[in-house]
């Protein structure tokens, strides 16, 4: 259950991710973005932050960091790869996930708990959750609005690649409960094989009662169990 937690210049959630992954029985290790050999690991997490200062576009420079060759190899081999917040943006820029993230609809930085509805359990992030389950997890982003071309969006929906949607406390997915204007309320999306997943909210910040929610644990536990299966 060795999992690489990648550190880019500007990452700032890597220690939280390491702590939370240990809490679900995984063996995380910080890996600097200059390392390109991840063959010793069963999976990887790209944590939140502002990799390379978000210069040019979020994730645009990070996708060319040497470590991304290792991430791409891992993704191709079917190993679990998770991008949280800025990590999600990087995976989209790298073309490992469909779509992109742009500025929030109201041009405000959003830092608060949101509700998420599990739309598919067919991914390394949601396998231990139940379809329709509602999770309360913090969102912390300015460029968190998911977008994609209409044809890509239709394909992602048809393939069941949407794993999490923003919703109300009772699981209602509508515009009122969409915090940032994401297309179809998409908060998390997987690749076609379900082994690469990205989400904007932070499950590691909802992993112990003292943090106000433990709802992120089911996602981290899913991910940890996928590390074992590889």
């Amino acid at each position: 259950m060795n999992v690489a937690v990648v550190v880019f210049p500007g990452s700032n959630c890597e220690h939280d991710v390491v702590y939370a992954l240990r809490g679900v029985g995984a063996n995380p290790e910080l890996v600097w973005h200059r390392d390109d050999d991840l063959s010793a690991f069963d999976g990887a997490v790209l944590p939140g932050g502002f990799a390379h200062g978000d210069y040019l576009r979020v994730g645009a420079i990070a996708r060319f960091s040497p470590v991304m060759a290792g991430i791409e190899a891992m993704a191709a081999a079917g190993k679990p790869v998770l991008g949280i917040c800025n990590g999600f943006q990087i995976l989209c820029e790298a073309g490992l996930l469909p779509g992109a993230l742009v500025e929030n609809r109201d041009l405000s930085f959003i830092c608060r708990f949101v509700h998420l509805m599990v739309d598919s359990t067919d991914s390394v992030l949601t396998s231990a959750a139940a379809t329709g389950q509602v999770l309360r997890i913090p969102l912390n982003s300015y460029q968190g609005s998911y977008t994609a071309h209409a044809d890509v969006l239709a394909e992602v929906e048809a393939n069941g690649q949407v794993v999490l949607r923003y919703c109300g406390p009772a699981g209602t997915v509508d515009d009122e409960h969409n915090p940032n204007g994401s297309a179809n309320g998409i908060a998390g999306v997987a690749n076609a094989s379900g082994n690469v997943v990205g989400l904007m909210p932070h499950p590691e910040r909802a992993s112990e009662p003292i943090l106000g929610s433990t709802d992120g644990r089911v996602l981290l536990e899913s991910f940890a169990s996928a590390l074992v299966k590889v």
């Binding site: 645009a60 742009v102 500025e103 929030n104 041009l107």
Partner: protein
């Protein structure tokens, strides 16, 4: 040789900043404003004398790094004059 590259948000992709600027202009009385497009402008100097080669290089720069095809379109202008320095 100097390259002028303009990168703009693709039609159909939400641009809340441009919408906000448009609304602000109209509130200031510029009521003929019907739309605003915003983007990024880059000026890149290259050690190259062939305009076509310079344009081709700029195109590759845009495709690999400068523009995200999911979100953005780009235009390239090759400025032929010798660039000082």
């Amino acid at each position: 040789m100097r390259l002028h590259i303009e990168i703009t948000r693709r039609p159909g992709i939400a641009d809340p900043e441009a919408v906000t600027v448009s609304r602000a202009l109209r509130e200031l009385g510029f009521d003929t404003v019907v739309g605003v497009g915003m983007g990024r402008s880059l000026v890149i100097d290259v050690d190259e004398t062939d305009p076509e080669a310079a344009r081709e290089a700029a195109d590759r720069m845009c495709r690999q790094l400068l523009a995200n095809p999911v979100l953005e379109d780009y235009t390239i202008e090759v400025v032929a004059e010798e660039v000082a320095g």
